[in-house]
């Protein structure tokens, strides 16, 4: 267990233990550290007494000897090394092209093989024993569902027939009623038209025989529909519109309402 080096790390559940030995003879323990968390650990001397609680774990100094502990992953670059930037590697053109060619070949081959396996898996999924079983079960389920569907269809067909019969009777009655109603309305309409005609006939229109007489009458009695209005609302009909000739009592007044 205790082999090369001066320190030995033993991983005990929940804490890490570092033990430092004295030189090649591994009988004497100089000190032992027990890490409690990532930042704290406790240091024990060889006699077992607690020496110090260390917070900075980058290194421990003991008897003018440094014991390095690994730098935590999250800690930044050393200040002295911040500006040390590695240059980009420069490859000759032909080597670059060769690398690209090899990589392209590799990519294409891998892609082809992957595609091949994928297609094989699809094929297996189609024709394998499990797939056959699945197909059979699916067929059975399909048949059962189709049977159920057929029964349901028959039931609904019966219901539909009954419903349609009732509906047909109802529509027949409705049509008969509407026909009777329409007949009555037509009769009423005829009577109304006859009444209207007789009324029209009785009014004294100008008949074809009397037309000459009517024209002569109209020529004998000319009517002038022109009139004038003044601001007070008096109406002056015909051509006699001068205010002076007509006395105020005889003037016609426009009805305001």
């Amino acid at each position: 267990m205790f082999e090369n080096g001066h320190t030995q790390r033993i991983d005990v559940p929940r804490c890490h233990v570092n033990i430092a030995f004295n030189g090649s003879d591994k009988t004497r323990i100089i000190y032992m550290t027990v890490a409690i968390s990532s930042k704290h650990f406790i240091m024990f001397g060889s006699s077992g007494s607690r020496v110090l609680n260390v917070i900075n774990i980058s290194y421990i100094q003991s008897r003018s000897k440094r014991v390095w502990v690994r730098k935590p992953l999250g800690s930044p670059m050393a200040k002295s090394k911040i500006f040390r930037i590695t240059p980009k590697p420069v490859l000759p053109e032909d080597e670059k092209a060769e690398i690209k060619r090899l990589f392209d070949n590799y990519k294409n081959s891998m892609k082809s093989i992957r595609h091949y396996f994928f297609e094989q898996s699809l094929k297996q999924a189609e024709s394998g024993e499990v797939a056959q079983m699945k197909h059979r079960l699916e067929d059975q389920e399909h048949e059962r569902l189709m049977e159920e569907n057929r029964l349901e269809n028959e039931k609904t067909a019966m219901l539909r027939e009954e419903r349609l019969k009732i509906q047909a009777e109802k529509t027949q009655q409705n049509v008969l009623a509407s026909l009777i109603k329409k007949e009555g309305e037509a009769k009423l309409h005829e009577i109304q038209i006859e009444d209207f005609l007789t009324k029209q006939m009785s009014t004294p229109f100008i008949q074809a025989e009397n037309i000459e007489k009517a024209i002569e009458d109209a020529l004998a009695n000319p009517v002038n529909f022109n009139f004038a209005l003044d601001l007070n609302g008096y109406v002056y009909r015909g051509k006699d519109t001068s205010i002076d000739t007509i006395p105020e009592e005889k003037r016609e007044r426009l009805n305001s309402n």
Partner: protein
């Protein structure tokens, strides 16, 4: 005091698109721009501005720009360059040098000539080949090759029925790497 550069090297060389376009008439309509990042290719790559509308923000970083894109000699049609316009990697092509770029833009016939013919079938890896030949009773099973046929890879032409029998080292681009190889 001389400048001391710190940090990583910037691989861009040039100005932002908006810096160039802002100084031109109609925001550089019809002018050619080159990205220095694409100058490493032997073919020409450039963009021709159709319409540019800078946002006029404080740092002159954003805006909308529509271009005709030519990449590695191939015409890609209209393209929205708004997302990369902020990169300080653009150079303006002077009017008298435009002919150089326009004449090197490839036409359809030239592109057709460039097409690389690739085999339809390749060989299986040795062990897999043995397994499959036993399974299928076929002494020489062939693997159907799958190539990346993206929009940028139009120079590929798959030869139907062709079989690739070459080993990987044949057709090498740098034969001096394999000189001392024992067969």
């Amino acid at each position: 005091m001389p400048y001391v550069y710190i940090g990583k090297r910037n691989f861009y060389f040039g100005k932002r698109l908006w810096e160039i376009v802002g100084n031109l008439k109609n925001f550089g309509e019809g002018r050619l721009l080159v990205r220095s990042k694409f100058e490493r290719y032997p073919e020409v790559s450039y963009v021709k501005i159709i319409r540019a509308e800078p946002l006029m923000d404080e740092e002159n970083l954003f805006g909308r720009v529509l271009v005709e894109k030519v990449f590695r000699g191939r015409h890609y049609g209209e393209y929205d360059l708004s997302k990369t316009a902020y990169k300080n990697d653009f150079k303006l092509v002077p009017r008298d040098e435009e002919e150089f770029y326009l004449s090197r833009t490839m036409k359809a016939e030239e592109l057709e000539k460039l097409k690389k013919s690739l085999p339809e079938f390749i060989q299986f890896p040795p062990l897999l080949k043995e397994m499959i030949s036993k399974q299928e009773n076929n002494p020489n099973p062939l693997l159907k090759a799958v190539y990346n046929l993206g929009p940028n890879n139009s120079t590929v032409f798959i030869q139907p029925g062709a079989v690739c029998n070459k080993t990987k080292i044949e057709n090498s681009k740098a034969p001096h790497l394999y000189e001392n190889l024992r067969p």
